[in-house]
């Protein structure tokens, strides 16, 4: 158990929860708007590759960032068009995007650099890490909190920003109204389709950064399928909390903790490695089931079948 006292461990926890946290912020907004957006896995992949290629070919981090965000948002808006205007099933559309992204990113990478595994040939730029003055001097805490990638700090800041956006602003209230009761929203003149499109748009921005963190934060390359289910974890963490960003944060934390724990316990024999890796998923299922049960009791709903 000594690793719990090791600041490097906690540093790793914060680092590994970042992509899930960023994506979950976007997922929360989409969820609050009543959208069942399954595409995070795919959008993360696309933005991860787009950012790498954008920065590699232009030599500019900013260009890479814009590239990543652009493609992510484009896909989200495509999804918005198909589901809100053409009335596609939103679940199917999300699944299709994930599949297309998984394959499409490999395809594009191969076409560009003839490598279908990693983009190492591309010289991608990365987001800078930041040392926090003063904080880094604090013993123990300083080593945990300072020296992270700028996106990590942004992620944590975004928890507050997104929370305030959803619960304290007029537009956030519109989103929540649309998500819970589109008729109520329409009855006061809110354009439901427009609000949901905006939700897709905002979601795309956050998911883009979640994806770019993977390929341009910790590492500086794109690897095929590098999201490894993080998009789904973010989705589940969001659902678990009903779209509340704080709950999503908790879910992301559990993920980060388990992920780092698994690395640290590779050689120890307390728990099997597989149990640790499976833990966040199981945890999320249990919490989600529990919350749903409470919710149902509170709303006095009857059993589904």
């Amino acid at each position: 158990m000594e690793f719990l006292a090791n600041p490097t461990f906690w540093f790793a926890v914060i680092r590994s929860m970042t992509p899930v946290l960023l994506t979950a912020m976007g997922a929360s907004i989409a969820r609050k708007a009543g959208l069942v957006n399954l595409s995070h896995e795919g959008v993360m992949l696309v933005s991860a590759l787009a950012g790498v290629m954008g920065s590699a070919y232009t030599g500019s981090l900013l260009a890479g960032m814009i590239c990543g965000v652009f493609f992510a948002v484009a896909i989200e808006l495509l999804m918005a068009y198909f589901t809100l205007i053409l009335k596609s099933d939103i679940v199917i559309t999300g699944v299709a995007i994930n599949l297309a992204a998984a394959g499409g990113t490999v395809f594009v990478m191969y076409s560009a650099i003839q490598d279908r595994g990693v983009s190492a040939k591309l010289y991608s730029l990365s987001y800078p890490t930041v040392e926090l003055p003063f904080i880094k001097e604090i013993p123990f805490l300083g080593q945990i909190l300072s020296g992270h990638n700028i996106l990590t700090y942004m992620a944590f800041l975004m928890i507050i920003v997104v929370y305030i956006f959803i619960y304290k602003t007029t537009y956030g209230k519109k989103i929540r109204a649309v998500g819970q009761s589109p008729e109520a929203a329409a009855s006061v003149g809110i354009n439901v389709v427009k609000v949901q499109t905006v939700a897709f748009f905002l979601c795309g921005i956050f998911v883009a950064f979640g994806g770019m963190f993977l390929s341009m934060g910790y590492m500086t390359m794109f690897t095929a399928n590098m999201t490894a289910g993080r998009g789904f974890i973010a989705l589940a963490a969001t659902n678990m909390a009903g779209g509340n960003p704080l709950g999503a944060f908790a879910g992301a934390f559990v993920y980060g903790f388990s992920y780092s724990l698994a690395n640290y316990l590779q050689n120890a024999n307390i728990f099997p490695l597989e149990a640790i890796m499976a833990f966040p998923y199981l945890f999320i299922v249990l919490v989600y089931a529990l919350f749903s049960w409470f919710d149902r009791r509170r709303n006095k709903e009857s059993q589904p079948f």
């Binding site: 304290k168 929540r176 109204a177 819970q180 109520a184 009855s187 003149g189 709303n299």
Partner: protein, 517 residues
């Protein structure tokens, strides 16, 4: 007083040929409470949907404050001064009262941040202004139905409505809440607001409103001062069919009771007392009609008999066996057949074929080799039923939703009537279908009676009820107020008196429970 709203020759025909409204014409004066009455399906809701732009008009015009208007959304309508309170509340359950009230037009800082304190205040102020007492901070999912409704009214007032339309507002209110609502509406009237009160509850209309317009089958039957007509006269204008039914009913010997309900009590999820201790028996070979204005308990008692609803108290017997705690499937096995009120939701599987819909309740007859279905047998059976019940369709494989309403209903009737030795529970069998199908179904019902089967028939169509029933039970506010054994010689007028609670006959009711079995 000028005309605030004018409805001129408004017509709506749906693709497929259903006429929802035909040349509806009336005016609403400023400052009055104007009732729009009609039974279910008469076209009241469709008319309002067209006013608010939810549906397109086929023909006709609306004039508001003298100008022709064509609203495209409820927002559009509200901005022009018309607000509607719907039957199904349009509120966000997890928001508080004040959050719901101010949705879309919140008091804010810098246009972005919600000023919750000011929102609360605005809510309190407006509630005060109109004399409504509501709990500003409670979440909508935790407040009573009466309060939800007040909130809906405040919502439209907050946004500047001058004409308020209320769609069946008292359907879900307790008597106390209804009283409060009426007080509020009269206050609004004194403040020169205009109200359209859509309802089929004639006693309320008489109490509250100044004038009324009657809709029947999509057409307007005229606008009257409320004092001009009695409730009975209104009811007749609302319900009477052009066609009179006149059937030869041979003399019948009734057997013992096949169905008995004892002291059924039921309070619905809104807390309203729907059944206050109802008891009756259905005899073998008899058609027992349930009469009453909609909402007086007939639907609930039928749902309790079929097993869809669970009663709070009391028991149900079929063929002398206690079926009170049996599931629907088991009740069907005992012989209960059910032609439900909502034929599309509960009576059929829309996208499946006619054949699929004909065999659902006796599918076990078509099993060969333990699990495999004998499609040949099924098809023959389906074809036969289609022929016997005159079901107009391309063939037994056609999707049932493509059939006309009458043919869909005939399919359902064909299915349910093919149960052996059934107790037939029939609810609004001929609502909204063509004359030919109506007569056909009536014929089949009488055939069953002749055969010795027993039928429980609930219908809002008095003509139908009186032409078919051997005996009629009248429901009023959750109780049976009359058991009319001599249906041939009672007039619709007298029946109406019972239905409106103006007359009771306790003795006959007791008789109705005294049968053997």
């Amino acid at each position: 007083m000028e005309n605030l709203l004018e409805v001129k020759d408004v017509t709506k025909i749906y693709p497929g040929g259903v006429v929802a409204n035909y040349k509806v014409k009336f005016t609403v004066r400023e400052g009055e409470i104007h009732a729009l009455v009609g039974e279910n399906g008469a076209g009241k809701s469709t008319l309002m949907k067209m006013l608010f732009g939810f549906e397109d008009m086929t023909e006709g015009e609306f004039f508001f404050k003298g100008k022709k208007v064509h609203f495209t959304s409820s927002k559009d309508a509200i901005e022009n001064g018309i607000g509607m309170v719907h039957q199904h509340f349009m509120l966000v359950p997890s928001f508080t009262v004040s959050e719901n009230l101010t949705l879309g037009s919140e008091e804010n800082f810098l246009k972005v941040f919600i000023n919750e304190k000011k929102c609360r205040q605005a809510t309190l102020e407006i509630a005060d202004k109109y004399g409504f007492s509501i709990d500003v901070d409670k979440k909508v999912r935790d407040i009573s139905v009466g309060m939800k409704q007040k909130l809906e009214i405040l919502k439209v007032l907050y946004r500047g409505a001058k004409l308020i339309i209320l769609d069946e507002p008292t359907a879900v209110l307790t008597p106390q809440e209804t009283k409060e609502l009426f007080e509020q509406l009269l206050i609004l009237k004194s403040m020169k607001y205009t109200i359209i009160f859509i309802s089929h509850k004639l006693d309320e209309v008489k109490y509250l409103c100044d004038r009324l317009t009657i809709l029947k089958q999509g057409r307007s039957m005229g606008t009257y001062d409320v004092d001009q007509l009695t409730q009975l006269e209104i009811s007749e204008l609302m319900v009477g069919r052009e066609i009179q039914f006149n059937y030869e009913k041979p003399e019948q010997q009734y057997g013992e009771a096949v169905l008995a309900v004892k002291d059924i009590k039921y309070v619905d999820k809104f807390g309203i007392d729907k059944l206050k201790g109802v008891s009756f028996k259905l005899r073998e070979g008899e058609i027992l009609g349930l009469a009453g204005v909609e909402g007086n308990g007939q639907s609930e008692v039928i749902s309790i008999i079929t097993g869809e609803l669970k009663q709070d108290h009391g028991s149900v017997f079929a063929f002398n066996e206690d079926i009170t705690n049996l599931k629907i499937a088991d009740r069907r096995e005992k012989g209960l057949a059910n032609v439900p009120e909502d034929r599309m939701e509960d009576g059929c599987a829309q996208t499946l074929s006619v054949m699929d819909n004909l065999v659902t309740i006796n599918i076990h007859h078509f099993i060969k080799h333990k699990m495999i279905l004998d499609f040949k047998k099924m098809r023959t059976y389906a074809k036969e039923l289609i022929k016997n019940f005159d079901i107009l369709c391309k063939n037994e494989d056609q999707e049932i939703k493509r059939l006309s309403g009458g043919n869909i209903q005939k399919t359902i009737v064909a299915r349910e009537f093919s149960l052996e030795k059934p107790i037939l529970i029939i609810n609004q069998p001929t609502r909204g279908i063509d004359v030919g199908s109506i007569e056909f179904i009536h014929k089949k019902i009488l055939e069953k009676r002749h055969n010795g089967d027993s039928i429980l028939l609930s219908s809002a169509d008095l003509g139908e009820l009186m032409a078919l029933s051997d005996r009629i039970l009248v429901f009023f506010k959750g109780e049976i107020v009359a058991n009319i054994a001599d249906v041939k010689h009672i007039s619709e007028a007298e029946l109406g008196l019972y239905m409106l609670g103006l007359k009771r006959d306790e003795n006959s009711v007791l008789e109705g429970v005294s049968y053997a079995g």
